[in-house]
């Protein structure tokens, strides 16, 4: 039996003002993502990968079409509702990690839970579990400035995963990492995908990342060029 669909994009179009004209970043995208998928958006710069991730992450709204994420129509959500959707349902991993510099590793990971009003003991257990998943439990008190790029991205993965979201969006997560670290963090995410059945959607043009993806969606000029799934086994 197939997993349920958690993201549906129906004729999603996104235009940005560019001087007196409008630039079409996404053009009538039709896609669905099922729970537990480990998929990636691939394409050159300007192909619309990040724009699509932003819409799925409810950070932006489509100009036309309907984007439904975890049962919510993104365009109809208020600021508060979309914040709630991100808070409980979506984890983000950014190219530049976006860790909060004044917090230590533990605090950075805990931050995602502070908004969920969990008790202190619940938060502590969840944070330590997440740091164990990424192998950084011993660096809990370290500041981001003392970590390597790979370690920072692992902290970012722990932060995205600590609230056990249904969906994780990773925007070029390996772009600032060397080859070894790129493999390591994608392997970590792949493991978490298997263990927790979390849906991962990447935007990438990194071959090292692509080899781990179960599904690759090629974007070009804001349109889906190809949608390839790896055969099982």
């Amino acid at each position: 039996m197939e997993n349920p669909i958690i993201v549906t994009l129906e004729k999603v179009t996104k235009r940005f003002p560019a001087g007196k004209t409008q630039f079409t970043a996404l053009n009538k995208i039709e896609l669905t993502f099922r729970k537990g998928e480990f998929s990636g958006l691939v394409g050159p710069s300007g192909s619309g990968k990040t724009t699509l991730l932003n819409i799925i992450g409810s950070l932006d709204c489509p100009s036309e079409g309907v984007a439904t994420v975890l049962g919510k129509n993104i365009s109809s959500l208020s600021h508060k509702e979309s914040a709630e959707l991100r808070n409980y349902g979506i984890g983000f991993i950014f190219q530049t990690y976006n860790l909060l510099p004044v917090y230590n590793v533990y605090d950075n990971v805990e931050f995602a839970l502070l908004l969920q009003k969990l008790s202190g003991s619940q938060r502590k257990k969840a944070v330590m579990d997440a740091l164990e998943w990424v192998g950084l439990a011993d660096r809990a008190k370290s500041k981001p400035s003392t970590l390597s790029g790979g370690e920072c991205q692992r902290v970012a993965i722990a932060r995205a995963m600590v609230k056990k979201p249904a969906l994780v969006l990773a925007d070029e997560p390996s772009a600032n990492l060397d080859s070894q670290n790129s493999h390591m963090i994608v392997q970590t995410m792949k493991r978490l995908n298997k263990e927790l059945n979390t849906t991962f959607i990447f935007s990438t043009h990194d071959e090292k990342v692509m080899q781990y993806l179960d599904r690759i969606i090629y974007l070009k000029d804001g349109m889906v060029e190809r949608d390839e799934r790896k055969s099982e086994g």
């Binding site: 808070n87 950014f94 976006n98 909060l100 004044v102 931050f111 502070l114």
Partner: protein, 393 residues
């Protein structure tokens, strides 16, 4: 609560910049307390001294008496109504007779006011007991004057000075009075150009037997509101001028406090503007992690306002010992302040009332809240996708 916790973490993480802002604001806070404490202390001291030396616990005035119109003095005297006399006999009141006069110290001519006061009165701090004549010379008139008048007229203890006045019939008369003592008071209006002599002596000199211009009441004395045309003036009325002057001085201090606070708040405002510009990615991250824009605005506003809470804490650490030391030692006033026309002690003891402290705390916190909030309104207009890329200019 979450915002406060995050704000403290962010401020702590900001290091030196936070402490510079906090230090500047704490200095402004302590100086505001100092200024207000000094003025409140001065106000209290001035009121206390004026009551002790000049007005007592209220006065009863002859219907013709107007202290602001010297022309009324000549006619503002009459026999004391019996009910008021009863108060005087019980020691609950002391009568004073005023007569305009001219003094001729060292051949110069000075307008003066002769005040006849009962040498046995205990209501005012004027050392009237020194006027008890122990001289057999019937023409001997003992007089006491304040230090200010002593200096301006160049009179000292033991000096004799000719004074000329008009009696109740308008006839000029003149005699020499002997300065038996020069007293020290903080109240210039009980001192400048005033000569105190025994009441009965003045009555005799002016032929105003059993008459008075005003009656000073002691604490707790219950006076008739109006009797025989004499009017009761309570301390609110009698201290009005003093309070008006203090209010005007408070206005000046408010301007200085406002300027100091504005400088400190400008630093917070500047920090907030810079923070929002430099921390766009952080703002975008907060939103991506599930914070509403409203919450992010709240976070940054509280972060800015927390400067003031830290400043108050820091101000208490260094300011409380400093302010208490000033309260203990007093603030010396320059000699020129003596001529200000308002009661000023050699040293002013600041008074830090709970209300004044609370008002200052609220002022500092509220004003920092406002200047912290204004720059953060920009966050509510930010697109999170632009913020995440740090693209907002």
């Amino acid at each position: 609560m979450l915002e406060l916790k995050l704000a403290f973490k962010n401020l702590y993480g900001s290091g030196l910049r936070t402490w510079l802002n906090v230090t500047v604001l704490s200095i402004a806070f302590v100086i505001i307390l100092f200024y207000n404490g000094m003025l409140d202390g001065w106000n209290m001291q001035a009121q206390r001294d004026t009551i002790d030396w000049e007005i007592g616990s209220g006065q009863l005035w002859h219907p013709g008496y107007d202290p602001y119109d010297p022309y009324t003095f000549a006619d503002a005297h009459s026999s004391i109504p019996p009910e008021i006399s009863t108060l005087i006999e019980r020691g609950d009141a002391a009568s004073i007779l005023l007569t305009q006069a001219t003094a001729y110290p060292g051949g110069r001519m000075l307008n003066t006011l002769i005040k006849g006061i009962d040498p046995n009165q205990k209501i005012l701090k004027i050392p009237s007991e020194l006027l008890t004549a122990d001289n057999s010379d019937p023409d001997y008139i003992p007089a006491i004057i304040g230090r200010r008048f002593s200096q301006s007229a160049r009179l000292k203890e033991g000096d004799r000075v000719l004074v000329r006045w008009r009696d109740s019939n308008g006839t000029f008369d003149a005699r020499e009075v002997t300065i038996v003592s020069v007293f020290q008071t903080n109240v210039p209006t009980a001192d400048l150009n005033q000569i105190y002599i025994p009441l009965e002596r003045l009555r005799e000199m002016t032929s105003m037997y059993n008459e008075a211009t005003l009656v000073v009441l002691s604490q707790g004395a219950v006076a008739p509101q109006q009797y025989g045309g004499w009017s009761y003036r309570d301390n609110d009325y009698l201290l009005k001028d003093l309070k008006d002057i203090m209010t005007a001085k408070k206005g000046g201090s408010t301007v200085i406090s406002g300027l100091l606070l504005a400088i400190a708040l400008l630093a917070i405002f500047d920090t907030q503007v810079l923070s929002i510009f430099r921390r766009q990615k952080e703002i975008g991250t907060y939103i991506a992690l599930g914070m509403t824009r409203k919450k992010v605005v709240g976070l940054f506003t509280i972060e800015g306002t927390t400067h003031s809470l830290l400043a108050i804490l820091l101000g208490m650490i260094w300011g409380v010992p400093f302010l208490l030391l000033l309260q203990k030692t007093g603030i010396p006033m320059p000699a020129s302040a003596d001529q200000a026309g308002i009661a000023i002690a050699d040293k002013i003891t600041p008074y830090y009332g709970a209300g004044m402290i609370l008002t200052s705390v609220i002022l500092v916190v509220l004003s920092s809240l406002v200047v912290s909030y204004i720059p953060t309104r920009r966050i509510s207009r930010m697109r999170p996708t632009d913020a995440l890329r740090g693209k907002i200019v």
